[in-house]
Symmetry: C2
């Protein structure tokens, strides 16, 4: 494979010196871009977009044509793995993801197959190969998966939930069933991410969108432990190098020390955490990614620039910072505001890297 | 006024010895009780229920007839203050609170009057006086208000919000307007709580439901600082004693040290925080209230009892714990499950207080 031209992201994830702070954005390929909406409407429904490697390539590349981003992220959905387990993922317009066959009984969990990445999720692996070829070393490609807990919430609730009452009831009244589901998902996600690595992704992120809704004890047992097992089970890249892993638990600010202890390379931070305080807590062990409130992108470009500067200043000088939002870009955001953000990161971070060796 | 027969709550808030851990529950008077639903349907709409001192008395007393709770809490809504400022609070069935006149411009904020508790919110003060008389010292009565930030979110957004994009845009692009709104609300809430204290409430809680959606820096400036000013502005009770103040920021677990530094008497904890870790962080300065996940009440009584025991054990022996949920009771909960919770707190906490006094 081609050598990387822009390797800022991988250097920052390894806490090595960089010229400026690298930046990518969760949901950087998405509905806020008119060209995404055009591809999406050509594809028909959202799943057809995910399942076409050619269209996934197309939307993955779109934000890189507009903005000076330092990474591409595979365009896909976090729920492809449960879909490959036979749950029948579909999207109701304006309603979010749903499953035709939610998993609500121990027997249904017992019966769940563990998908094979190449055989059952080949469309994702094909997309990774196409994107790597198209990128030609311009920036690294990030792969991803949902965390076992986060996938399990959708599988048991059947859809998004406000309070997770069905899965938490399973946690309390049938904990062995939930453990079995999480064990299966841990194996499936490990295989899925290893498939992505074999196909060419150069870093991976695990999205633990709903771990932050748990008590501390439950988080450790039902969300963090499965993620730690995945981190331990990941293969090196085909060239033998380590593939850095970013763990992102939304609303996980209480647990940064525990997350850093999993052996991951970086923590994704939501916007509520002060990134300077996070660095003081764990920055000698991991890189930190984040953490602009996505709602800041509704404000004026001047305000966006000010908030970017504030986060860079709070992180301070030195290595180990990857700039990102604290959650995904909203569909209503103006692309010009995203450009203001990306440019501000590169311009305003220069002084924090000047003294690097 | 009559002496208190059950003073466990006030003793725990002052971190004095008690025989068993006191317990009350956020939304203990509410839709999960059939007798509440009966009163509510007699009242017509929700605002009529809040605005009738006689009906507010009735629903305030209902949970005390069923459960061995250690406190009553005034039945009211957090949005009575903005309603008294002229915004026109109403409730769309199944939609949550709405304002007829949201406040979206600096001019509208300038024009907002600061209500006088006795004159403009007399129905609340009358309810407090009725409830105190009816309680006759059986348990203490807790008064409450929303925090300035939380009230401001509804006033600016006009209703509940998922991402607070309107008020955060004001925060970024018109911070002086937001500061003025928060200043007015700080004065109004201080006067409102002092009115409740004069009328007879024996402790107060400030509900900061939405402070946890802010960045750390914004939380300090726009939510915590106004709350600290309110704490400093509260009057003693008519008998000259200090009225303890509980600050409850949902999703505020990152900021416990900062909240404890306001001079409040107790912190309300949501369920994500480990209460033992919270005690290690701030328990030499404040009492702690919480923190069972309200979703636990959907599980079996045996599981509820187990989770109650777990929280009591994490808090450990000694003073300063008030048991509560980490957020309000859901309307679908079985009253029997609430009874299981209340009884478990009293039974299982006995060993943790045995060595006292």
């Amino acid at each position: 494979m081609t050598a990387l031209i822009n390797d800022r992201l991988l250097r920052a994830l390894r806490r090595e010196p960089v010229d400026v702070t690298p930046v990518w954005l969760m949901r950087q390929a998405g509905r806020y871009l008119p060209e995404y909406r055009a591809t999406r409407s050509r594809a028909g429904d959202f799943m057809s977009l995910c399942q076409s490697p050619q269209l996934a390539l197309e939307v993955t590349m779109q934000p890189l044509e507009r903005f000076a981003l330092d990474a591409a992220i595979l365009f896909s959905d976090i729920l492809t793995v449960p879909d490959a387990m036979g749950l029948g993922l579909y999207f109701e317009e304006g309603e979010g993801p749903r499953f035709r066959q939610p998993v609500t009984t121990p027997a249904a969990i017992e019966a769940l197959p563990i998908p094979d990445a190449e055989r059952d999720l080949g469309y994702v692996m094909d997309a990774v190969r196409l994107i790597r070829r198209e990128l030609a070393g311009r920036v690294p490609l990030i792969g991803f998966s949902g965390s076992p807990w986060t996938l399990a919430t959708y599988m048991v609730e059947g859809q998004s939930s406000r309070d997770f009452r069905t899965i938490k009831r399973m946690l309390l009244d049938q904990p062995e069933a939930l453990e079995l589901l999480l064990d299966k998902l841990t194996l499936a996600v490990t295989d899925y991410l290893n498939g992505q690595i074999a196909a060419g992704v150069q870093a991976v992120q695990i999205f633990d969108t709903w771990g932050g809704t748990l008590t501390t004890g439950w988080y450790e047992r039902f969300s963090l432990r499965p993620m730690a097992r995945i981190v331990a089970g990941l293969n090196p890249a085909p060239d033998g190098s380590r593939v850095p892993v970013i763990l992102f638990t939304k609303q996980g600010g209480l647990w940064l020390e525990r997350i850093a202890a999993t052996g991951c390379d970086a923590l994704g931070l939501d916007w509520t955490v002060d990134i300077g305080e996070a660095r003081a807590r764990v920055g000698d062990r991991v890189a930190l990614q984040g953490n602009l409130d996505p709602v800041v992108l509704y404000a004026s470009p001047a305000a966006i620039r000010h908030e970017v500067g504030d986060i860079l200043a709070r992180y301070g000088a030195g290595n180990g910072h990857v700039f990102n939002l604290g959650h995904g870009i909203h569909p209503q955001i103006e692309p010009d505001h995203v450009a203001a953000l990306v440019d501000a990161v590169h311009e305003l971070s220069l002084p924090y890297h000047r003294v690097q060796g």
